[in-house]
């Protein structure tokens, strides 16, 4: 199959998450992405976008998030970039997921899920913007 690309820019606000999910859903359908991969990519985008919006603009500035997804044979790559304050989410310590209910505090699981569900995850700063590059290997290499 030929490479198919999704490339969109969103405002950094919660209402844009549903817009991204709908647009990605259409893309996933057109490119015949397996349901399991759709779930994982939706989750990764959801977590990253919520973090950007919730913590990235402490002064309340307007922000912009760009999402580029490439459907390649056997794999999907995701480039996520924002103009929020510079922050490497993958530098956070891994949460202790062996703790019981009393010791657990809400939060911190979003980045953990992204890291565990994706095949690759990397952070970089490019032109003063946060860039996160994710890769997902598809089990069914069609």
């Amino acid at each position: 199959m030929t490479t198919t690309r999704f490339d969109r820019v969103f405002k950094a606000e919660h209402g844009a998450i549903a817009t991204l999910m709908a647009a990605f859903g259409s893309f996933a359908e057109v490119t015949s992405l397996p349901a399991d991969a759709v779930f994982k990519i939706e989750l990764a985008l959801d977590e990253l976008m919520n973090n950007t919006i919730d913590y990235g603009y402490p002064d309340g500035d307007a922000g912009e998030i760009s999402v580029a997804i490439e459907r390649l044979p056997g794999r999907v790559t995701i480039d996520y970039a924002d103009d929020a304050r510079l922050f490497d989410p993958f530098a956070l310590p891994e949460p202790d997921v062996t703790l019981g209910i009393d010791a657990r505090q809400p939060g911190g699981l979003g980045v953990h899920l992204v890291r565990k569900l994706m095949s690759e995850s990397a952070y970089s700063v490019e032109r003063d913007r946060n860039h996160i590059r994710l890769g997902l290997v598809l089990d069914d290499p069609s």
Binding site: V97, T98, I101, R104, L113
Partner: protein, 109 residues
């Protein structure tokens, strides 16, 4: 997201349908809070009709679970499958809560 509730003996089975994400998690957590405050002290969360769960959904479950613990009640998870189950296991929520294969198994437990 829709939330169904059904009495099974002395237990309350709560079945969220659809997506448990940043949009729906606050409503879900509020509903469980009302149930617990209203005297439901044995709650099974039936995950069989959940298509999607994010960390916000997990946080809602955790907050409700802590509230239930303070009320000295029991809240367990049941019937998670596919990617929803994967998210629960990766997050260690199968240690935070009992995770049963079916609602019937959860009720018997």
């Amino acid at each position: 997201m829709e939330i169904e509730e059904a009495r099974r003996g002395t237990s309350l089975v709560v079945t969220p349908t659809g997506r448990l994400d940043s949009g729906s998690a606050p409503d879900f957590e509020a509903r469980l809070g009302e149930d617990i405050d209203g005297g439901a002290h044995d709650v099974v969360i039936d995950l069989s009709r959940l298509d999607y769960i994010s960390s916000k959904g997990l946080s809602a479950l955790l907050s409700a679970g802590k509230r239930m613990k303070r009320a000295e009640g029991r809240m367990v998870l049941a019937a998670a499958s596919g990617a929803v189950r994967q998210v629960i296991v990766i997050s260690g929520f199968d240690r935070v809560f009992e995770l049963h294969d079916s609602v019937d198994a959860a009720l018997g437990g």
